[in-house]
């Protein structure tokens, strides 16, 4: 890596830490630290939701998949766009309002407990445990991806790269909490957007005209232009089903809960979906162009198609910024997941079960120390670069989508839903994802989120209708938002 790119990159990391320092004094209470005191503006909510959602997949995974297999990979982008749109359209404003009305709930387990008046604490413990378990693995996978990026960019060893990446994320998350994470995600979202907008424009100039580019792709394999090539109905449904995952992702739903007012949701939705559509287009285009660009010398690792193109095509200063954008994509997800884990430990376990009367200052410090503790666990998991944690991303996405998604949706829209229904939904979704993942052949090749989502929904319906109707106080809160 050349000096200009290194300087740009280090400057970028310094800016991230500066965000942490800047927002340190705004984290006086636990709701400030883990939900920013619900003061997010529409632009920050939109881009931070997008950036924390997409992770390294947007700049590494998707371009790599299109580069390796062609335009048939577009189905996942379509599924994600529709899922994100529906999430903003039907979940965001309602969740924002209901979480504040149910005792100012600041985490999903907190919201579900209060929504169903669960005195047994079972729902809180079960959902917070699921969050900690899945996010520890999810965070570890992000750290592995970040370390590999550091490794290939700077030529460092894997372990120093892992420590450096995790160190920067922990510093600004530890100091500034949710506001630092959201603002760094906003900044990172802009970088990712610019990178994915700039690259296609420059690549079109490089190829001079569209025909030259498509002829180059056709020369490699005409099937790369066919969206149905090598795709079965199960394959297309599996890729589209990724969109279902949005309804249950705690780090994305936290942005909805933190937006300043439900009034800001339509504007945030427009910004967020616009960002997503252009970014996905840019990612697909980069992978597509890569097919022609590397026709003579195919890349050993398709996921590095964007990175290698950046280094070969762009000015070193611009390359440094674009490389920072790739690392941004990874960091913006890891920081959000760290903070959700921290909120589960500080709010759901420490305050919820152990020290209900703990002071603001004590809770904020428990939150901060939880960030460090979860980061250490994730580091231990990620220490072995050959660990299969990267493959767990799809599994964790399905796990959250199937176990939390239907429960959140029904809790927002169905008055008759009961505590038993909520518990049955969480357990059925999680178990279906775990079991389906180990089955093979025919319909069992379907991405586990789809059967998990359907069975979880059926369990909610069945158990709610077979249990006693919710109490008058439970339905009263629900009725207030009708």
């Amino acid at each position: 890596m050349n000096t200009a790119a290194v300087i740009t990159f280090i400057l970028y990391l310094c800016i991230l830490i500066a965000f942490g320092v800047l927002f340190y004094r705004y984290s006086e209470t636990l709701p400030d630290y883990i939900l920013g005191g619900r003061k997010l503006k529409s632009g920050v909510a939109a881009l931070s939701a997008g950036a924390s959602d997409m992770s390294g997949w947007l700049l590494l995974g998707l371009p790599g998949a299109v580069y390796a297999a062609g335009l048939n990979q577009i189905w996942i982008a379509i599924g994600l766009s529709i899922g994100a749109f529906l999430n903003w359209q039907y979940v965001a404003a309602r969740l924002r309002t209901l979480t504040e009305m149910t005792g100012n709930a600041i985490t999903l387990p907190d919201y579900l407990e209060q929504r169903f008046e669960d005195k047994s604490r079972v729902l809180r413990i079960a959902t917070a445990t699921v969050i900690l378990l899945f996010f520890a693995l999810y965070t570890a996978s992000g750290l592995v991806a970040g370390a590999k990026l550091f490794e290939s960019s700077f030529g460092w060893g894997y372990e120093p790269a892992l420590l450096a990446g995790a160190g920067v994320i922990v510093v600004y998350t530890f100091l500034g909490g949710f506001m630092a994470v959201s603002w760094t995600d906003f900044f990172q979202g802009i970088l990712m957007f610019l990178a994915l907008l700039t690259a296609p424009i420059l690549l079109i100039f490089f190829y001079e005209n569209w025909s030259t580019l498509t002829a180059g792709v056709t020369g490699v394999d005409p099937a790369f232009l066919n969206v149905y090539h090598d795709m079965t109905l199960i394959g297309i449904l599996s890729l589209l089903a990724w969109g279902l995952g949005y309804f249950g992702q705690p780090h994305i739903l936290a942005r909805f809960m933190a937006i300043e007012s439900a009034n800001l949701v339509p504007k945030a939705q427009m910004i967020g979906i616009g960002w997503m559509v252009f970014a996905l287009f840019g990612a697909v285009f980069v992978g597509f162009t890569g097919i022609a660009y590397f026709a003579g010398s195919p890349l050993p690792d398709p996921e590095f198609v964007f990175m290698v193109m950046i280094q070969e095509l762009f000015n070193p200063w611009l390359a440094g910024i674009l490389l920072a954008a790739i690392l941004s994509a990874v960091m913006s997800t890891v920081d959000s997941q760290l903070l959700v884990c921290s909120s589960a430990l500080a709010e759901d376990f420490y305050k919820g079960l152990l020290r209900p009367k703990a002071s603001n200052s004590e809770l904020v410090w428990v939150g901060r120390l939880s960030v460090v503790a979860v980061a250490l666990v994730a580091l231990v998991i990620a220490w072995n670069p050959e660990a299969m944690v990267l493959e767990l991303v799809a599994w964790a996405w399905a796990g959250f989508g199937a176990s939390f998604g239907p429960v959140i949706l029904f809790s927002l829209f169905w008055r008759r839903m009961s505590l038993q229904g909520a518990l049955a939904g969480v357990i059925t979704g999680a178990v279906t994802v775990l079991v389906w993942n180990h089955l093979e052949g025919g319909w069992f090749d379907l991405y586990e989120i789809l059967p998990g989502f359907v069975l979880s929904s059926l369990a909610i319906l069945l158990f709610s209708l077979r249990s006693r109707p919710p109490s008058a106080s439970v339905t009263a809160i629900f009725d207030k938002v009708q």
Binding site: R38, A93, T97, G103, S261, A262, V277
Partner: protein, 67 residues
């Protein structure tokens, strides 16, 4: 039979579902701008702490007072 060419206008159709959700988001914003009911499901555009319905003593507590 495999495609051998991809006219530039085909990209529009490839991305049509994504463009559609973006257009719907813009229309939704324009329609809801200034409306009290931002979700179309009767949810007030105000934050919960601003609503008259917010009578529960627990929920009345400002966020900084919760703990």
């Amino acid at each position: 039979m495999e495609e051998t060419t991809l006219p530039i206008h085909s990209w529009f159709w490839l991305f049509a579902p994504m463009i559609a959700v973006f257009v719907l988001s813009i229309l939704n914003y324009l329609r809801k701008r200034g409306s009290a009911d931002v979700t179309g499901f009767g949810v007030s555009g105000k934050s919960a702490s601003e609503t008259d319905a917010h009578t529960d003593a627990h929920t009345d507590a400002p966020m900084e007072d919760r703990s």
